[in-house]
C-alpha cells in the first residue's frame, strides 16, 4: 500500500474514532453547540453544530461502521488501488462519513441541507465508481433522481417552517412547531415523510435501493445500508417527534402502515432476489420498514398521551436501528469477501464456500444468526424489544381500535421474521453450502486477513450487543428521557424481559453449556467420532453440481403458493400510473401548440382582454 493510502485510511479511522466519542458523549447527556460560522457574511448561510442525545446513537453507529469499513478497505481495495485515481475511493469514503456526521450534528437548515446534499452526491459518485460496467450508470442515475426528489420535498418542508417561524434554527422549530395551524403541520409532516422515506427506502419510494446497493463497492454499500438510511430515520424522528411531539393520530397510523407494508413486501422480495447483495438490500428495506413501524406506533402513543408506551416503542425502533446497522454493515463486508474471492454475486453460481473459505463462512454464519434474529445476538435483542413494545401496546389497547393496528403490526413483525429466515437460509444454504456450482466458486480462496479481521470485529460487536444489550438500552432510555416533556424512567415492561441483564447471557450460557455437555458426554461414552466420507446419495447415478437445489428453487414455493408476490406492486400501482399521467398531460398540452397561426392569435387575444379587464377591475376598486 502506498503512503497516501495509508494516510487516507488513518485519517478515516481517526475521524470515526472522534465521531464515536462524540456519540458516546451525547448519550451521556452532553449537549453542546458550536457555531455559528458564517459562510457568506450577512446572510442566513450559517453553519451551526449541536450534539443532542437522539443523535448520539446514530453517531456511535456511524463511527463504528466507518471504522469497520476503513479496516475492511485495507484489504478490499487491492483491486481498486491498481487503477488510476484509486485514491479517490478512499477519499470518497472519508468525505462520505464526514458528510453524514454533518447531517447528524446539524442545528440549522443550511448545515443540514449542506450535509444532506453532500451525502447524496458523494454516495452517488461512489455508487457509480465501477461505471465502465454496463447498467451501472442507469441504476446510479435512478438513485440520483430519487434522492433529489426527496431533497426537494425536504426543502419545501423547511421553507414552510421558515415562513411561519422566521428562523432557520432547529431549536426555534422545536419550540414553535406545535403552534402552527394543523393543516400546515400536516403539510410539513407529509413533505418530510416523503423526503425522508425516499432516502430511507420505505415503499413505495424504495426502487432505487435494490438497484444502487449491489453495484457499489462493498464497503460503500455497507455504509449506505448500515448508516446512510439511518440518517434519514434520524431526520424523520427529529421532525416528527422532537418538533411535533407525535402530531395527529393519523400521522402515526400512516407511518406504521407504510412501515408494515415495506417490511412484509421487502422481505418477500428478499426471498426471491438473485444476488447476495440484492438480498441484503431488500432486507435493509424490510428492517427500515420495521423500524418505521415502531416509530409510527410511538408517534401514535405520543399523540394519545401514552408516554411510557410511546417511549417503549421509540426505544425499540432505536435499538433495532443500532443492531441492524451493525450486522448489516458486516453482512455487506461478508458479501464483499465473497465477491472478492469469486468475482460473482449471483447465488446460482456460488456454493461450497464453507469448505473453500471456512473462516469467512463461519463469520458469515454468525452474522446470519444475528440477521435472522436468533439468540444470543444483537438482531435477536432488537426484535425482542420490538416484540415487547408492540405486545405491550396491544395489551394496553386491547379493547380499542388502536389495538387492531397493534395486532396488525405484530403480524407484520412475525411474517417479516419468518420471511427473513427464509431469505437467510436460502442465501447461506445455496451460496455457501453444498458443492460449488461454477468454476469461480470452485476456485475461491479465503480473503486477506484485514477483511477477515473487520468481519470478526463486526461479529464480536453484534454478539456483545446481544449479550449486554441491557445496559446499552438503559443508557439509551436515560439519554432520551432528557427530551423536554418526555421525562420517564425505563419502561417496566423491559426490565423483566429483554432488559433484564441476566436473560440473554443466561440463555447463551445454557445453550453453550448444553451443547458442550452433550458433546462431552457422547465423547465419553463412545469415544472419538469415526467418520468416513462418501458421495451424497443421488439414487445411484452420476452426480453433478447442478443436481443440487438452486436459489430459484428455494424461492419457488412462495411464488407457487401465492402468485400475487410476482407482481411488482410499486411499479404497477405507483410509478407506471405516474409516468403515464405525466405523458398524458404532456400530450394534452402539446395540442396547444398546433402550429396554426390563428390559435396563437386566440391566445394573444384572450390574454389582452383578460389584462384589460383585470386592469379595469383593479383600477376600478381604487
Amino acid at each position: 500500500m502506498k503512503t497516501i493510502h495509508v494516510l487516507a485510511t488513518t485519517l478515516t479511522a481517526l475521524l470515526c474514532a472522534a465521531i464515536t466519542a462524540l456519540g458516546w458523549a451525547a448519550l451521556q447527556g452532553v449537549s453542546e453547540m458550536t457555531g455559528p460560522y458564517q459562510v457568506v457574511p450577512d446572510s442566513p448561510l450559517v453553519i451551526v453544530f449541536r450534539i443532542q442525545p437522539l443523535a448520539g446513537l446514530f453517531l456511535c453507529l456511524l463511527g463504528v461502521s466507518g471504522m469497520l469499513s476503513a479496516v475492511y478497505a485495507i484489504g478490499y481495495h487491492n483491486e481498486y488501488r491498481a487503477r488510476r485515481y484509486g485514491i479517490l475511493l478512499d477519499l470518497g469514503i472519508l468525505a462520505f462519513i464526514l458528510a453524514m456526521a454533518v447531517v447528524l450534528l446539524a442545528a440549522n437548515v443550511f448545515t443540514f441541507m449542506l450535509g444532506w446534499e453532500a451525502m447524496s452526491v458523494i454516495s452517488f459518485l461512489l455508487v457509480i465508481y465501477d461505471h465502465r460496467k454496463p447498467g451501472i450508470l442507469q441504476s446510479g442515475l435512478l438513485y440520483a433522481i430519487m434522492t433529489q426528489i426527496g431533497s426537494a420535498f425536504l426543502l419545501v418542508a423547511f421553507l414552510i417552517l421558515y415562513a411561519y417561524t422566521h428562523s432557520f434554527d432547529f431549536a426555534t422549530f422545536a419550540a414553535e412547531a406545535h403552534t402552527l395551524p394543523p393543516v400546515v403541520q400536516s403539510v410539513i409532516f407529509l413533505c418530510s415523510l416523503i423526503g425522508f422515506s425516499t432516502k430511507a427506502g420505505i415503499m413505495p419510494l424504495h426502487i432505487w435501493l435494490p438497484r444502487a446497493h449491489p453495484i457499489a463497492p462493498s464497503h460503500v454499500s455497507s455504509l449506505m445500508s448500515g448508516v446512510m438510511i439511518k440518517t434519514a430515520l434520524y431526520g424523520f424522528l427529529t421532525v416528527a417527534i422532537l418538533w411535533f411531539g407525535g402530531g395527529a393520530m393519523w400521522w402515526g397510523v400512516t407511518v406504521a402502515c407504510l412501515g408494515a407494508i415495506s417490511a412484509v413486501a421487502a422481505a418477500t422480495l428478499a426471498t426471491r432476489a438473485r444476488g447476495i447483495k440484492q438480498i441484503l438490500a431488500y432486507s435493509s428495506i424490510d428492517n427500515m420498514g420495521l423500524i418505521f413501524l415502531c416509530t409510527g406506533i410511538a408517534m401514535l402513543e405520543f399523540s394519545l398521551h401514552d408516554i411510557p408506551l410511546g417511549m417503549l416503542a421509540l426505544l425499540a425502533a432505536l435499538w433495532q436501528t443500532w443492531n441492524h446497522g451493525l450486522f448489516k454493515t458486516s453482512l455487506f463486508h461478508g458479501a464483499g469477501a465473497v465477491l472478492y474471492a469469486t468475482h460473482t454475486d449471483s447465488l446460482n453460481r456460488l456454493g461450497g464456500l464453507a469448505r473453500s473459505m471456512p473462516k469467512t463462512s463461519i463469520a458469515f454464519f454468525i452474522l446470519l444468526l444475528s440477521w435472522s434474529a436468533l439468540p444470543p445476538f444483537g438482531g435477536f435483542s432488537g426484535e425482542w424489544v420490538m416484540f415487547t413494545a408492540l405486545a405491550t401496546a396491544a395489551a394496553h389497547h386491547l379493547h380499542s381500535p388502536v389495538g387492531v393496528l397493534d395486532v396488525i403490526a405484530l403480524l407484520a413483525l412475525f411474517f417479516t421474521a419468518a420471511l427473513t429466515a427464509w431469505a437467510a437460509i436460502r442465501l447461506y444454504g445455496i451460496g455457501f453450502l453444498g458443492q460449488p456450482r461454477s468454476d469461480a466458486a470452485q476456485d475461491a480462496r479465503d480473503v486477506p486477513r484485514t477483511m477477515r479481521i473487520a468481519l470478526w470485529i463486526g461479529v464480536t460487536l453484534t454478539l456483545l450487543s446481544g449479550l449486554f444489550g441491557a445496559s446499552l438500552i438503559a443508557r439509551l432510555a436515560k439519554a432520551l428521557s432528557g427530551i423536554p416533556e418526555r421525562v420517564t424512567p425505563v419502561p417496566a415492561a423491559l426490565t423483566n424481559g429483554p432488559l433484564s441483564s441476566v436473560t440473554v447471557p443466561t440463555v447463551f450460557a445454557v445453550i453453550a453449556g448444553a451443547t458442550v455437555a452433550v458433546w462431552a458426554l457422547v465423547r465419553l461414552a463412545q469415544g472419538k467420532t469415526r467418520t468416513r466420507t462418501a458421495p451424497t446419495w443421488t439414487c445411484g447415478g452420476e452426480r453433478t453440481p447442478s443436481m443440487q437445489y438452486s436459489g430459484n428453487g428455494l424461492s419457488q414455493p412462495l411464488e407457487r403458493a401465492w402468485p400475487l408476490v410476482l407482481t411488482p406492486l410499486a411499479m404497477r400501482f405507483v410509478y407506471r400510473p405516474a409516468y403515464a399521467s405525466v405523458v398524458h398531460s404532456a400530450t394534452f398540452f402539446r395540442k396547444l401548440q398546433s402550429g396554426n397561426v390563428r390559435s396563437y392569435l386566440v391566445y394573444l387575444f384572450a390574454t389582452i382582454v383578460l389584462l384589460l379587464v383585470i386592469a379595469r377591475v383593479g383600477g376600478g376598486v381604487r
Partner: protein, 212 residues
C-alpha cells in the same frame, strides 16, 4: 360639432363591422380606405381644435399613406391574383358583426371614466374595440391578405387610442410607425402574390406546408 364627432365614431364602428363581414377581399380593402379616411378627418378636427400643427401634418400623412397608398398597393396585389377573390370566414356574418359590437362593449367596459382631452371618452373605448376587432379579423379570416388588413385595423385602433388620450404621439414616432406599416403592407402584398403562384390559393391552411 359633437354630433359630427359622434357620427365619425359610428362610422368607424360601422366600417369595422362591414370590413369583418365582407364577401370579397376587395370590399375589405375599400372599407379599410374609408376607415383610414375617417381617421384622418378626425385627426384634422382634433388638430384644429387643439391648435397643434403636428397633428395637421399627421392627418395629412394618414390621408396619404393609409387612405390612399396602402389601399392602392393592396388593390394592385389583389389584381395580380384575381379581383374577385372571396374572403373565407370561419364564422357566420352575423356572428362576426356581433363580435365587433361585443369588442366595442368590452372597450366601453374597460375604459375608465377619465375626461379625455377633446370630445367624449367614447373614442378610447372605440379605439380599444377597433384593436380587438382587428385581432378578431385575423382570427376569423383564413385568407392571407385579410391577415394584413386585420393588422392595419389594429394599427388604426392604436392610432385612435393615442389620439384620443394624449393627442397623438410625437411626430417622429408617428412617422416611424407609418413607415413600419407601409413596409408590412408591401411585404404582405408581395408575399400574397408569391403564395398564390406557389399554391394557387392563399388559404392559411396551405401555409402550413411552408414549414420545414
Amino acid at each position: 360639432m359633437h354630433v359630427w364627432l359622434d357620427i365619425m365614431m359610428i362610422a368607424l364602428i360601422a366600417s369595422t363591422s362591414l370590413l369583418i363581414s365582407v364577401r370579397f377581399i376587395l370590399s375589405a380593402v375599400y372599407w379599410l380606405a374609408f376607415q383610414s379616411l375617417v381617421l384622418s378627418v378626425l385627426t384634422l378636427v382634433f388638430g384644429l381644435a387643439a391648435h397643434q400643427s403636428e397633428l395637421l401634418w399627421i392627418a395629412g400623412l394618414t390621408l396619404l399613406i393609409k387612405a390612399m397608398l396602402i389601399p392602392v398597393i393592396l388593390r394592385r396585389a389583389l389584381a395580380r391574383i384575381g379581383l374577385r377573390r372571396q374572403a373565407e370566414l370561419a364564422l357566420r356574418r352575423e356572428t362576426l358583426i356581433g363580435g365587433v359590437i361585443a369588442m366595442w362593449l368590452i372597450g366601453y367596459y374597460v375604459t375608465p371614466a377619465t375626461p379625455s382631452l377633446v370630445g367624449s371618452h367614447m373614442f378610447l373605448s372605440v379605439a380599444i374595440g377597433m384593436l380587438l376587432s382587428g385581432v378578431l379579423v385575423m382570427i376569423t379570416h383564413q385568407k392571407a391578405m385579410m391577415q394584413g388588413i386585420g393588422l392595419i385595423v389594429i394599427e388604426n385602433g392604436l392610432f385612435l387610442a393615442a389620439l384620443s388620450t394624449s393627442l397623438g404621439m410625437p411626430l417622429l414616432v408617428d412617422v416611424g410607425i407609418f413607415m413600419d406599416v407601409f413596409v408590412v403592407v408591401l411585404l404582405i402584398a408581395l408575399l400574397t402574390v408569391q403564395i398564390d403562384e406557389l399554391f394557387a390559393s392563399t388559404h392559411l391552411a396551405r401555409l402550413r406546408r411552408l414549414r420545414g
